[in-house]
């Protein structure tokens, strides 16, 4: 069975064809497949459509956050992991 990390060449060409035919972004597909591969997570190709749709949205949201952090000068905040004992 083609997967996101096994038979990589086959999977990538098949998935790229699917993404391309759907007007999707091949770079996004590569990014997600690389990330899954690095984490040793195997997802069958036929189950990649929905993750790719979600990933497209997530990428926009990551960009929005990183841009907001820069524009609001928040990158100097170092004590953000303090949500314990009700600390807000």
């Amino acid at each position: 069975m083609p997967t996101s990390s096994g038979c990589e060449h086959l999977v990538r060409s098949e998935a790229q064809a699917r993404i391309q035919s759907a007007g999707g972004d091949q770079q996004l597909l590569r990014d997600l497949m690389n990330a899954l591969s690095e984490q040793r997570i195997v997802v069958p190709l036929e189950r990649m459509d929905l993750p790719l749709h979600e990933f497209t949205v997530l990428q926009r949201q990551r960009a929005l956050i990183n841009s907001a952090v820069e524009s609001r000068g928040l990158s100097d905040i170092h004590t953000v992991i303090s949500r314990s004992r009700g600390t807000l």
Partner: protein
């Protein structure tokens, strides 16, 4: 019977001897037996053990008298199937957890039991409180009692459905991005997400630690207040639990809204394409009611919801991936399709992405706090339209909801019903308060419940 009487009325009836706990539990089980093959609110029903516990509660009342009975003595409740219940599997509605067995009760379940409640069973959820609605899981998806072709919302789908179907007046839900308030709004019940840390999450399967909240769904604001009174308090077993004094949530419920400053952030939702005309009309009606009740209505502006949602999703992706990484590597095909598609996103979130989301969250929380310098509570939308049909529901991200912001900031927020749409589906508004000011949030919600006349609203009959 168990849903016709309020929790306080059931408690009074049990104390006076007018009703036995066994009658309440038996009535609940009969209702479930009649209706749940269509609603699918329960994943596990503990009928016999609930009856045994009810009989024991009746014997205790008979032997000890009615003095000093705890608040929920002999009253049936139910819990979302991500809460541990000793001796039962916490399935999280997932194939991955069918073999699980809980060794002890979750902290909040223990509080319910200590208060005398009888737990009827475990309620349906979206898989791991994340995906859904899904049809590739070991249990069916819960349906909306107001219309079986419509979703009940989620992820606490069974909790909302169980109350709307009249099985119980009080159920436990959990909320990471809106999973208590959304099913409450779409099922016409009350759903309270308290302040982050107010209710223990010990023994509750995590989705995203810094966004997860536990809370009650209930038939009325008074029922929810009684539930919160039992559930609130510090639990050192939950690293996020707050050691903050617990207010009296019931004594001020009927004080009203005279002189309160109610912030109205119309710009937060009015212009959105998903906002329905009938919801906007109903929302304006609520502002008029509150104004007539002599609340001071104030225009306010909330932090950008797009940023709130982005922060929530990136944090959720990173934290939920950490929870599920091992199973994603070993058993990816045992997840439902929607859940898998969302969980794998975390593989692509970098440490910088996660830390920047936490940085921006701190900024958003500070900006939200500034809003409360101008008002005592905020009145806003929970959902921008009524429940979608299963055929058009899609996934959670496409739903017309406005709940994520307060999971991100941690402020307490409640969904309270305000009426039915032209299609006969419930509509609701959201009341948000300052940190740990649940008493005021409940008080304003109670006023809205009275002003809207919802407390007299008949619920679906669901004839056999």
């Amino acid at each position: 019977m168990s849903s016709e009487l309020s929790i306080s009325a059931m408690a009074r009836a049990i104390r006076s001897g007018a009703v036995k706990s066994e009658q309440l539990v038996r009535a609940a089980l009969e209702r479930i037996d009649t209706c749940d093959a269509r609603i699918h609110a329960f994943t596990q029903l503990n009928g016999q053990s609930a009856l045994n516990e009810a009989r024991a509660a009746d014997l205790r009342r008979q032997a000890q008298g009615s003095d000093n009975l705890p608040a929920l003595h002999g009253i049936p409740v139910a819990v979302k199937d991500i809460y541990d219940l000793a001796g039962q599997p916490t399935t999280c509605h997932s194939k991955l957890r069918l073999e699980h067995m809980a060794e002890q009760d979750a902290g909040s379940v223990q509080r319910l039991k200590d208060a005398g409640a009888i737990v009827l069973g475990k309620l349906a959820t979206h898989e791991f409180a994340l995906g859904g609605p899904s049809f590739d899981l070991p249990f069916p998806a819960a349906r909306n009692p107001w219309s079986l072709s419509h979703i009940p919302g989620g992820s606490s789908s069974g909790s909302g459905a169980a109350i709307a179907a009249g099985y119980t007046r009080l159920a436990l839900g959990s909320c990471t991005g809106g999973s208590i308030r959304i099913p409450a709004a779409w099922c016409g019940v009350v759903g309270l997400k308290p302040t982050y840390g107010r209710i223990s999450r010990h023994g509750v399967f995590p989705l995203a630690w810094t966004l997860d909240h536990c809370g009650p769904l209930a038939r009325s604001v008074e029922d929810a207040s009684i539930g919160l009174q039992v559930l609130a308090g510090h639990d050192p077993r939950d690293p996020g639990s707050a050691d903050v004094p617990v207010d009296d949530y019931c004594s001020t419920l009927d004080v009203g809204v005279r002189g309160l400053r109610v912030g109205v952030p119309r710009s937060h939702f009015q212009h959105l394409a998903q906002t329905s005309a009938q919801f906007l009309q109903a929302f304006e009606q609520v502002t008029q009611w509150l104004s007539q009740a002599q609340a001071d209505m104030v225009d306010v502006y909330l932090p950008d919801d797009t940023q709130c949602v982005a922060v929530g999703r990136v944090i959720l992706a990173a934290e939920s991936f950490a929870v599920h990484a091992k199973d994603l590597r070993c058993r990816p095909l045992d997840y439902g399709e929607i859940t898998l598609s969302r969980l794998v996103q975390g593989a692509a979130v970098s440490s910088v992405d996660y830390l920047n989301a936490l940085r921006l969250r701190r900024d958003l929380a500070a900006r939200m706090d500034i809003v409360f310098e101008r008002c005592d509570v905020v009145l806003t939308a929970v959902t921008l339209d009524t429940a979608p049909a299963f055929t058009s529901a899609g996934t959670v991200h496409g739903w017309p909801v406005q709940t994520y912001a307060f999971n991100v900031t941690g402020h307490p927020a409640i969904s309270v019903p305000i009426g039915l749409s032209a299609q006969g589906l419930p509509m609701a508004v959201q009341v948000v308060g300052r940190y740990f000011d649940e008493a005021l949030v409940l008080r304003v919600a109670r006023s809205i419940e009275k002003l809207s006349g919802w407390e007299a609203q008949p619920f679906p009959e669901l004839a056999a």
